[in-house]
Each structure stands twice: as C-alpha cells, then as structure tokens.
Symmetry: C2
C-alpha cells in the first residue's frame, strides 16, 4: 500500500464536509475558520438537525450531500465515529480528519478498542484517517485552516505536529516573525496517517523546503529511521521530541497514547542523519526564521552594532560563547569612519560599537563595518527599556532606517535582535518587528537565542558541505 | 577609612543638587525623575544661565545654593568635573554621583588622567564619588530615582549594577513581576565607591534581604572575596558577571574600564561562598521573584495543572529535567475527585492534569491536588495562543480565579507560568499577571525558566541548611 496515497486530498481539497456543527461546537468554529481563511472549494456542514450556518445549508447526514467530498472533518463524539467512517467510505471520501478525541489516549480498554475499530473501517473503505484527537490540516494554498488567524500566504515550511495546541502556537509565533507555511499537520494519536507517512510526502513535496516536527512517539521505528534518512538527505529537518524524560513520556502517553522511546535513541538518530534537534518551540521558531532568511554560506565573524554599554557586554558574551568572533576594526576602516566624525580624533572604535554615540554617522559606520572583509555577518542589538527616558525610543526608528538602508546596499547577512519585554514598549516593538521582517531580515528576541540558532544553522551547512564533498 | 562612610547620604538625602540642567539634557530629566518619583527633599537645579525648570529656580553655581546639599548629580561635560568636585567639597557635600562620562572608559590617556584627578579631589575633600559614567542611585524610600517610571514602593531587593542600562532594565522587568527594591546603585567606572563598598553597606542594611549584582570587574580582588564571604553568610547573593569571554571582557573594558578577571576564578568564588551565579538579566529576575514569593522550605514534588496536551508534555519534560518529580494521584484522591465528576467513571487522572477538561470541578481538583501529602509545590501552566479559537481565552480567567482561591485556602507554594508571546494576547496577559503578582504568587514566562529558578532556590536553601547544621 502506498502510505502517501490520498494525502493530496487533505492538502488540496475541492470540497470539505464538517461533521457536527451544533451551536458552540468545534464544528461550527471549523466552518468559520474555513470561511475566514479564504477556502475556495465547497463547504458542507453536517448536523442531524439541519438548518443553516453562516449562510450555508446544514445537511442532515453525509449521505445527503450531493457532490463529491474530498476531505471530512469530524467533530462528533467518539462513539458515532465508526458509523461516520462507513458512510464516508460509501461516499468515496479519501481523507477524514478527527478532531474527535476519547480513543486510545484515555488509557481505557474501550478507547483502544474504538480506535482499532475506526482504523479497520478506514482500511476497508480505502480512506485515510488523520488523528484522532487532532486539529487536522492547515494548508494555506487551499485556504484550509484550523484557526481563522493563521496567515493566508504560503511559504516553504512544513510542520508535522503530534499536538494540536503546539501546532497552532508554533504557526502563530513563527508567523509573527515572517515565517510562512506549505502544510501543517496536527495528527494526534496517529491511528493511520503517521509521522513517517507525512515525512515521506513532504520529502517529495515541491512546496516544502524545510520540515519541522513535534513528535511524541513513532509507530514503526525502523520505517521512521529510513524515512528520516531519505528526508534529511533532501531537506533540513528540525525536530522537537516531546516526552524525553520518564515523567514527560508518561504525560505523552496520556496525551496521544504514544510510546516515547529512549532519549538516547533519538539523540543518535538525529545525529546520524544530520537533523537538528531543539528543546523548545521557541528554539524551533528561531531556526525556522534563520533558515528562511539567511543564505547558507554565512560565517562566524560578526560585526555588532547596538546601544547600551552593559547590553553590549552581555551580547558579546552570548555571541562569543556560541562560537562567533568579533574582529577588531582595522586602522584603515577606523580612519574612514573618523572622517565622518570630525571632532572625535582620540576616539577608539570597538566592535561591538555603541551606535547611539554617533548619531551623525550611524549609516556611515554601519556601512563601513558590514563592508569589512573580515566580517561575515552583522548583528543589530536593540534592547528596549535600557534607556532611562522615553525620548531615547525614537533612536530605535533611526537604527531601523539605518539597518534597512545598508541591507539594501550590501549583500551580506544581517540578523536583528529585538529585546522588548516591557509592556509599554510593545506597540513600538511590533511596528519595528514588522519593518524588519518585511525587509527579509531574521528577528530574534535575545542575543543568546539568535547566536544559538545561527550557530546551528552554520554547523548544519558545514556538515552538509562535508557530507557532499562541497556539492550542493 | 570607613569605606561605607557617607553612603547613607546617597540613599536618604534631604537635598539633591542636579548640575547641568540646560534644555534637552540629562540634568533636566534627572530633575523630572525626582519630581515624578515623589522626592520629598529639596531639589536644587544648577546651570550657569540660571532660569527656571518645572517651577524650581535654577542656581548659577553650587556655591550659590543656600542650604546644605546631601547628594549631587553631575550631568556636565567631563572637563568641568574637577572644579565641580572642589566646589562641592567646599559646600560639605558628602556624595556626588557622575552621570558624566568621558573618563577611563574611553581608553585614552587623558580620560584615565582625568579620572585619577577627580578621585584625588574627592579624597581630599572627604566626599564620595559614585561613577563616573553611571546612573547613580534609585532609592524608593526617599523618592530618589533615575527614571520616572520605577516603582515608588520599597522592597527588600538591592541591585548593585555596573551598567546604567542594565540597572534600569532589570528594575523595570522585575517590577512588572512584583519585585520591589531597597536600593539600586548604578556605579559605572567605580573610581571611588565600588562593588565591595556597596556589598558591605548592604550586608548591614536592614532594608535589604536579597542582594543582586551585575559586575564587569572588581577593583580589589582580595577585599571583594572577604566582603562577598561576609555578605553571603548573611543574605542570598545573585551574581551576573559581564565579560566572561575574552571578547566580552574587551567590551567591558571599553564600557567601564574594567579588568574582568578569569571566569574560572568567578566560578570558584561564587561556589565557595554559596552565591548564585546567573547568565542573563532575565534569569536574575526569575530568581528575585522566587526569593521574593516562595517560602524557604519548598520541596521538589510538583502537582502541575494546566491546559493543552502538547504544552503539558513539554512542561513535564522541563520540570523533570530540572530535578522535580510529579507524583501520581493516589486512588483515594482520585476517588475524591471523581465524586465531583459524576459521569467520568472510567477516567484516569494524571499529574499533570489538563484542568480545562473539567470545567465543572476545577476548584475541587486543584484543592485536592495541592492538599496531597506527596506534593510540595503546585505549578500552574497557562500557555496563551495554543487554543484555536478566541473563546478559550476566558478559561484563563477562570483558571486564575481557581488558583487564587486555592492559594488563599492552602498554605503551600504555588508558581505560575504565563506564556504569552503573541501580540494580541498582551492585554489579557498583563491583567492576569497583575492579579497573580498582587496575590503574592511568583510569575514566570516559561516552564523551563520557572523550574530552573526554583531548582536553584531549593538548592540554595539545602546548602544553607547543610552549612548551618540546620540552624537558621
């Protein structure tokens, strides 16, 4: 059996049926999410009472729907699901996604039995199941979504996620920093479609160039190993494993009935195939942002610009302890910069440089530093709230103008660290983040997280280079 | 010489002179900060042109001020400072703080010479210098402040900080989470008053019960060792060392002309005297919050409540990998809880528990879990933005009601993790954070940072217990 069969119908459906659209139900919100996300195909809401929702007729059962149905979303109680699957199979539905929970994750014998039963009916009916106990699919190309606030634009990042909440949270976090997605699949208990099927599909998906994943447990270890190998040979893979401690594994088992597997095996596996392992969703966002916005051949020699002496000291420590160097400023560059600072004869220019000390020459200095032959990468460090008085805040706008202007002129990597944890700085922060993201710059929320992510990105490409003997 | 002499005048001045209050100068903002922070003593602005500021007469020189001056803030250019110090000494000023920069931190021979000169004049005039190149003192008891948005209430935390920006940032970050301060001193180049003087003062300060510090370099290593020993024997000390890498040390030297010292020496020193070393300002806030709100004898056995399966799996991993355990729920407690859930006979209750699954019994469950003899500490895990639809957000309010109610009833430790990194969740987050803080609960921004901080807090008290043979 082809384990990726029919998955196209989940990502590019022409018609979707949502089962269980009573008042204040998940079904109702799925319909609203489809409408709010611009789904262009047919939407068929279903509920035994009939009626209307958002101007759409509600069908009393799936068998009464007139046309073909590509994709079904189930939001009805678990005990009605076996019957639904049989009806869907009769309607030649190809993929059914189960928001419905109450199966093996309950830990009860009944739950396990019911899950086995729906898997059997799906097999018999030549129909694929996603879930149960999941959010299903977000596929912006089709306007298919499980929340109405996810980006409508497409991008190259796929997310294979065993948790619905983590899927939604990750998409939202990453979207705020300019990441866009090809396909996101929340697949829950994985009673049929599992992580290996999805990895295999995404390996060959031309719309995906980076695969991120949150996995609690795999169903078939040796197949997963083969699929991870072939996927990571073609595309970068970033993995977050849930349930790495004994206690976490127990929690995972009551979440998605997963067998977590030993952490050592995961570590070995990830290392063997050159995937990137992260510990948190935030770290995964940092890496997605880095892969999205930095070119592969960035190096480790950093020019740092920013404001604030103490902030610069801590940022330098973060940078250096992640394996980056901060080359000194050669006399020739120093002389060139000082030409723009007529009254600063005795000045010693350092890297990092506190750019706010030189308002009259910020562009000149930034340009000169980024142009240095000894520099691969510029890190712009903006810490809101270090300044005693609010009028300093306007400096962050000038700083942004400068960085964006120099970015347009000089084709070298720039990363932006925007630290803004204080409430009253939020609106300003959001505006600046948008400006940086729209200009194609990776934005991070601390110097350490920036350097950790860029370090792993650099190491990933060094390793690829090593493996392929320099061939792309 | 008594190295803490006169420092009282910097923390509890009856009168402050601000030197250099021209238009759009730091001096002007200092005056506004004093007024905005409720300083009750006399404020004497000084500028050669005279005039008026915020209804206060501007004196043309310090010698023309009629009354006694306890504390002087200098915001004039470096070259005028030697003369100012002599005039201040003549007026019997006891402490002078120098916002003014342009001394040894410039790296120039002139700067070093000028710094030596002002130190000499201060010694000759029996006057203490704070700085140069610093923000000076924030002492809420007196309404003395270097920014107008710092809390006016006092608290038990002191911060000794070599960087002005880090001082302001740390106070703001910590204040948002309910920490209040006794004294904060930004002391810059430390040409006179240094970290050891301040540690000695704070050791004997009845208003201070926790000392936090950001230090780039110390002036006298063996004295610092002695003072740290005597301070940490009396009060917990949390240290952030700036300039721990070669590159960071170089940056520190151009920031405050500090000699950073070897990182190994710092590690050994901190370990020997039982201080707590942190790597970031955020980590220092986490610890300040923990010391502020948790009782010393908290243990490692955690009951975790929250919403979201994937979030719970990751939170459990964070908890367990920091040395906490999550005891199972005994049959008796399970039975007691199920009594409140009449239709859930087959249910298996787990720790962590997804509280949002049981809206009808959240208080009952929370109360039962926290009452368990096998539980020392409850961690409440609230991750905003994991839910697909906005109406879930109201659940966080119910969750907060529950936690606060149970906290009032049961005298056991509770920590709150509020994860809210999405823009549109900010206002809700701010409201809830305030509710938790005002109720005396420590709030953290991730489960890992919470567990890291509480782990270090527990270890600190275990070690104290060991050292003192169980005597307080």
């Amino acid at each position: 059996m082809d384990r990726t069969a029919h998955l196209d119908k989940a990502f590019y459906p022409s018609s979707v049926a949502v089962i269980g659209v009573g008042p204040i139900t998940a079904g109702r919100f799925y319909v609203e999410s489809l409408l709010g996300s611009g789904f262009q195909g047919k939407i068929y809401p279903v509920h035994p009472n009939g009626g209307e929702i958002e101007g759409l007729s509600i069908y009393r059962s799936i068998s009464q729907i007139p046309g073909q149905i590509d994709y079904v979303i189930s939001c009805i109680p678990a005990r009605f699901v076996p019957q639904l699957i049989s009806e869907a199979a009769a309607k030649k539905v190809k993929v059914l996604s189960l928001f419905t929970s109450g199966f093996s994750e309950t830990g009860s014998r009944e739950g396990r039995k019911l899950e086995a039963e729906i898997a059997r009916r799906a097999r018999d009916g030549n129909l694929r199941l996603i879930g149960p106990n999941c959010m299903g699919v977000y596929s912006p190309r089709s306007g298919l979504s499980f929340a109405d606030d996810l980006p409508r634009e497409c991008g190259g990042v796929a997310f294979v996620c065993q948790s619905g909440g983590n899927a939604i949270y990750f998409v939202r976090l990453a979207a705020e920093r300019g990441v866009r997605f090809s396909k996101v699949i929340s697949y829950g208990n994985a009673c049929d479609v599992n992580e290996s099927d999805l990895f295999e599909y995404l390996r060959d998906d031309p719309e995906t160039d980076l695969v991120t994943a949150y996995i609690e447990g795999v169903k078939d270890g040796s197949r997963f190993r083969r699929v991870l190998k072939s996927l990571s040979a073609k595309k970068p893979v970033i993995l977050l494993k849930g349930g790495v401690t004994t206690e976490g594994a127990r929690t995972a088992s009551s979440h998605t009935a997963s067998l977590s597997g030993s952490n050592d095996i995961w570590t070995a596996l990830v290392k063997q195939y050159g995937a990137i392992r992260v510990d948190t969703l935030n770290e995964m966002v940092d890496l997605a942002v880095t892969f999205r916005f930095l070119a592969p051949h960035v190096g480790r020699r950093v020019a740092m610009i920013g404001g604030g002496g103490g902030a610069s000291v801590l940022a330098t420590d973060a940078c250096a302890s992640n394996g980056f160097t901060l080359p000194g400023i050669p006399a020739s560059v120093s002389a060139e910069i000082k030409g723009a600072l007529d009254s600063e004869a005795g000045l010693i220019l350092t890297n990092p440089i506190e750019l706010n000390m030189f308002p009259q020459a910020t562009q000149k200095i930034t340009r000169s530093l980024l142009s240095m032959g000894s520099v691969d990468l510029m890190l712009a460090n903006c810490v809101f709230g270090q300044e005693p008085w609010d009028f300093f805040d306007t400096w962050f706008d000038l700083f942004c103008d400068t960085v964006l202007k120099v970015h347009r002129e000089i084709p070298k990597a720039i990363g932006v660290v925007l630290v803004s944890e204080l409430n009253n700085k939020q609106p300003h922060f959001v505006t600046l983040r948008r400006r940086y993201c729209e200009a194609g710059l990776p934005v991070y929320y601390s110097m350490s997280s920036a350097c950790r992510a860029i370090d792993r990105f650099v190491r990933y490409h060094e390793m690829r280079h090593h493996w392929t003997g320099g061939m792309p």
